[in-house]
Amino acid sequence: MRALGAAFQRDLALMWSGGGALAPIGFFLGATMLVPLAMGPERTLLASAGPPLVWIAAALAVLATLERLFQADLEDGSLDQMLISRAPLELLVLAKGAALWCAIGLPLALAAGPAAIALQAPLERVPVIIVSLALGTAAFVGAGLAGAAVTAGVKRGGVLIALIVLPFFAPPIIFGAAVAGGKDVTAALMILGGCALAAAALGPIAAAAALRLQAE
């Protein structure tokens, strides 16, 4: 447990000192800003199609943080130390994912509130949008861990990660957008929670398997 706590603290501190959620949130708000510019500012159109687009922006913002996630550890030798630590690599990866979610995922979910309001989401739906994005970013991070791990050895692998990870983003986007659009909210939230759990459980296992190969 102490090893996991230490790993979580360190990853969180490193992400924080690297600017934390500043750049992802800026990116997220910038992408949201483009939506009315592309669709036109008409209120009824925005109200029906806008809020789900918050999810696209959030997915892209998470994607943008993945490229260096394990690449740095592979290059500077930190990965070797993780391999011989007391804790299994799977759990250390989970700790890193948890740190990423706290540093990026949760702030994104909170920023989605104002973004959804700007895209004409009804005010009473905003809390549920924030909750759904908190779950959704967890699912994104889980899948992202695996994608970042299999591409850790690839220089400038940003586009490759996106291509690999996007099919795994499809289920959370579907249910998340349903919540944001106000359709079948309870069922969608439950399934979204299932997606988050599955990604948090399976993502680190796949990522650890890939990282062991990367260390060879």
């Binding site: 230490a6 490193l14 500077d76 030798g77 070797d80 391999l83 060879e216």
Partner: protein
């Protein structure tokens, strides 16, 4: 050098008919050797002869193409070894103190920070971010892992690289101290580290 209790384990490295392949090329003729508690084994060989790969195979990072490399007779296999490779495993943004704390958690040590800092002469840079360290200071910090958490087997890859005369002496003392407690050290070196090795392995293609 310090007053920690000797290891309960009788750490042993056993390598049998080991063959490693990198990029379709066999690195060295199949190698076999064994080393036990209290030994210091020096690993010699030209650049590209496979010293690093041999260490990484013993650490369990590399899968052998044939033969085996094992660490035996340690109660907790996951707590068996330290590996200090070419890469120091440091993060530029984090301070020296943060690294010591992180490693203590990761490896399960109870760091006497004072001792670590004094032994490796890092007191002046304790709160500096690692990107400001010199090569030699960074190497000393990487070696601090050896002291923070006691582990019976040390696998060292050019431990004295970038170190000054005094730094080399400290590494020699660390190795001697570790042997005295029943530890086992395997080091890849270009020139002798100081302590008299119990075995010398020479890798040839």
């Amino acid at each position: 050098m310090n007053a920690r209790r000797p290891f309960q384990d009788k750490p042993t490295i056993r390598v049998e008919g080991l063959t490693l392949v990198r990029g379709g090329r066999r690195l060295f003729a199949p190698i076999s050797f064994a080393a036990g508690p209290g030994e210091y084994v020096e690993l010699l060989g030209a650049n590209g002869s496979g010293k690093t790969s041999l260490l990484r195979a013993i650490a369990g990072f590399l899968h052998p193409r044939a033969g085996s490399a094992h660490i035996e007779r340690c109660e907790e296999p996951s707590l068996a070894l330290h590996y200090v490779g070419h890469a120091n495993g440091l993060k530029g943004q984090a301070s020296v103190r943060a690294h010591l704390k992180y490693w203590a958690g990761l490896f399960g040590g109870a760091p006497s920070e004072d001792f670590v800092v004094k032994a490796l002469n890092l007191a002046r840079v304790l709160d500096a971010p690692c990107r400001t360290l010199s090569q030699g200071q960074a190497r000393r910090l990487a070696l601090a892992r050896l002291i923070i958490a006691p582990r019976p087997v040390w696998l060292l890859d050019e431990p004295a690289s970038a170190l000054d005369y005094q730094g080399r002496a400290v590494v020699g003392e660390l190795v001697e101290g570790h042997r005295a407690q029943g530890g086992l050290v395997l080091a890849a070196v270009h020139e002798p580290l100081g302590p008299k090795p119990s075995q010398t392995l020479r890798l040839a293609a």
